[in-house]
Assembly symmetry: none
Homo-oligomer: 414 residues x 2
């Protein structure tokens, strides 16, 4: 099986100034080709850092993808370090210069001496065209290994990957297939899910593995199969996947790239149901997640965020009496919020959330983290209480995820 | 100078299923303490991967922070591999078990056998409390190096870092002082800000640097000073900081750990103003950001998210005529949305947003990315139009940030 290491160069990655999305994208693309990613290493923009990283990468893999450290400023030294390390001289590359001159002419700007310096390339490296910027990519073949160096600007890297690197890898470096299948669940914790499906996971063959990725009320289960025969792997993963889903039942809300808002959208569209939200402690977060999906205007009408008692009364018809006797965080209140939302928003199905996000506002009877959720239509409303933790932001996220899952299940049952 | 390597464990990071934000945050925190981050390495969740990563890390640094690979399920093997590698036996840790039982009792749920297994810890590792989840952190001291292993769930890792790791590092592993001072701006781009303050930044002394961190309508300017004398550095950074702020004027909305919602809250509280939002394309995101601040119920009343034309009329009194003639994305509509929100929400100041987030819905006259924002009270409303890009999620974030800045400036002027 071919193996790859991704090397990313630059202090901004190490000190947390930039979140590295490049390597995640590259990893996803390599993985689709069945190339195993051994490691990702982020290194300093220094000679020693780059050499040490390259040596490590070459000891681990036969494909090394490098980003960053290429560009017109002085702190970009990758190219020279690699040329020295592999014993290559620098040579002026005329086509690169012509391309840069063309780019600047088109932008109506003039080049600087730094751009001419940028055209000196290691003699022996193959130049990979970059139509998105000035620094081209470079391909080195050394000791039977392939090293590719690209600029760190995301769209420049992606251009070189898509037009040069991925087609070449697909042609020459795919021998084993890797199949992933992710089952998305909500409403139960990692360990409880693991216990439920233990009978299946214990008899998974060696070449199929399962991983659990929990996050605030949701758990992703990822099945990974590695082998020669892509179709056979796909079939096997499908069989184990459906066995797992049979056991987990309606904890499962979707697969792979889906998420709760996209699944809610899919069902609402299918069933031609208009939806809306009535939110207190989540403050509009559920609504904002629903509209993150393109085309959500086809099923999402709107939302009322009633943070104060008064607005619960005026915008959602919650009875003053209910609020005074049961409190804003109560089954009765979320029930009335649903009815009020259906009425005021003119929707078929509404979900309501009211809770104590903290850090203040908790009582002995209703501690911080207590959240009531209701979901219903004109005929029927379901309610439930959840107990979140003490962290405000986490409680809000958890309540939002939970509420979306309640909405998803209610829509499915229509 | 002390050196650190951050090791992150898990295939989900290598295959691009999860974007690694943990290590960026950890890098930022270490950097603040003046600890140099040598490398970040993402490795596979296998015995060989973990051992090879640990060996590399220990050869490069005296502080090794490890995340991931701890949890109640079988795919989490870090703990056992580390115990074996350092020749430690596993021992049942009673306090951890008591804590887990307590957590589950509070949640009203029962533990599983997997949770008991989770309490076996390497005998010789120091346990670091994790109040956010079941898996505690572990501290190993080996060959004069310190290794800390934490779960990969972001808020669990952050809890352990904030309560155990960072205080210990600050006490024992800082020899040089690093002072950061961050100036938060909104409403202008990076290059334009850089040009405005060039006269100051060009004469910064060698030991003080400036970094620009742009993000969708906001730019953070971070001044960093390194040296022996903490008080002197603090004073210097303060002087340069105020020179920069004098030039940037009301582009500056806050400092350091503040953010737009916290600044909005501070001003609203100070001026005793109740606020609310009327949102279309942002779908409640502005409201949800405002309520992310503890205590926001003191000044935030609520919000109306009107995604449909109809709700703009019924919940915000926008004239049918305005919608038909000017469209939902127009100066007139957001103006009327503000008036409607002040009326229906009973607030002193409201902000309204209506735009075309995309990918659909654009026209030649109003392309995707066109967003109108208005902010006002009963007497006066200001409006402005922004042109965002083509990416839906980015447009929504950009419009939300912009709207919050408009609200911040309007509140400041009251």
């Amino acid at each position: 099986m071919h193996k790859a290491v991704i090397l990313t160069i630059g202090d901004e990655l190490l000190i947390g100034q930039t979140i590295d999305t490049n390597s995640a994208w590259m990893g996803g693309e390599l993985n689709k080709l069945g190339i195993r990613i051994e490691e990702k290493i982020a290194i300093q923009d220094t000679r020693e850092g780059i050499i040490s990283g390259i040596e490590r990468a070459m000891s681990k893999a036969n494909i090394v993808l490098i980003t960053g450290g290429l560009g017109p400023t002085k702190d970009d030294i990758t190219k020279k370090v690699m040329a020295d390390h592999f014993g290559m001289k620098m040579k002026f590359d005329e086509p690169t210069w012509e391309r840069i001159e063309g780019l600047f002419a088109r932008w109506g700007r003039s080049t600087t001496p730094a751009h001419r310096d940028q055209c000196y390339m290691p003699d022996g490296a193959k130049i990979l065209e970059n139509k998105m910027g000035t620094a081209p990519g470079m391909l080195f073949e050394v000791d039977g290994k392939m090293l590719i160096s690209m600029p760190g600007v995301p769209y420049e890297m992606k251009y070189i990957m898509e037009y040069s690197v991925l087609p070449m890898l697909e042609e020459n470096y795919t021998d084993q297939a890797i199949i992933h299948h992710t089952i998305l669940t909500a409403g139960e914790g990692e360990s409880r899910i693991a216990a439920q499906i233990e009978d299946i996971t214990e008899r998974l063959p060696e070449h199929i593995s399962i991983a659990y990725l929990p996050n605030l009320g949701t758990v992703k289960l990822r099945l990974t199969a590695i082998g020669k025969d892509k179709n056979k792997l796909t079939e096997e993963v499908k069989v184990y996947g459906s066995q797992i889903e049979n056991i987990l039942g309606d904890l499962v809300y979707g697969h792979n790239q889906e998420n709760l808002p996209s699944v809610i959208g899919k069902i609402a569209l299918e069933k031609k149901l208009k939806i809306g939200t009535a939110e207190s402690c989540t403050g509009g977060l559920v609504a904002s997640k629903i509209v993150s999906i393109p085309g959500s205007s086809a099923y999402f009408e709107g939302s009322v965020v009633t943070y104060s008692y008064k607005l619960k009364e005026t915008l959602l018809n919650v009875n003053t009496d209910t609020l005074n006797k049961q409190g804003a965080v109560s089954e009765e209140t979320v029930n009335e919020m649903v009815a009020g939302a259906i009425d005021h928003l003119g929707v078929d199905v509404a979900v309501a959330i009211s809770g104590i996000a903290g850090p203040g506002g908790g009582t002995e009877e209703k501690p911080v983290g207590t959240v009531w959720i209701a979901c219903g239509n004109k005929k029927k409303t379901v309610t439930l209480k959840i107990k979140a933790g003490k962290n405000r932001q986490k409680n809000i996220e958890y309540a939002s995820n939970y509420a979306m899952n309640v909405l998803r299940k209610f829509l499915q049952a229509q």
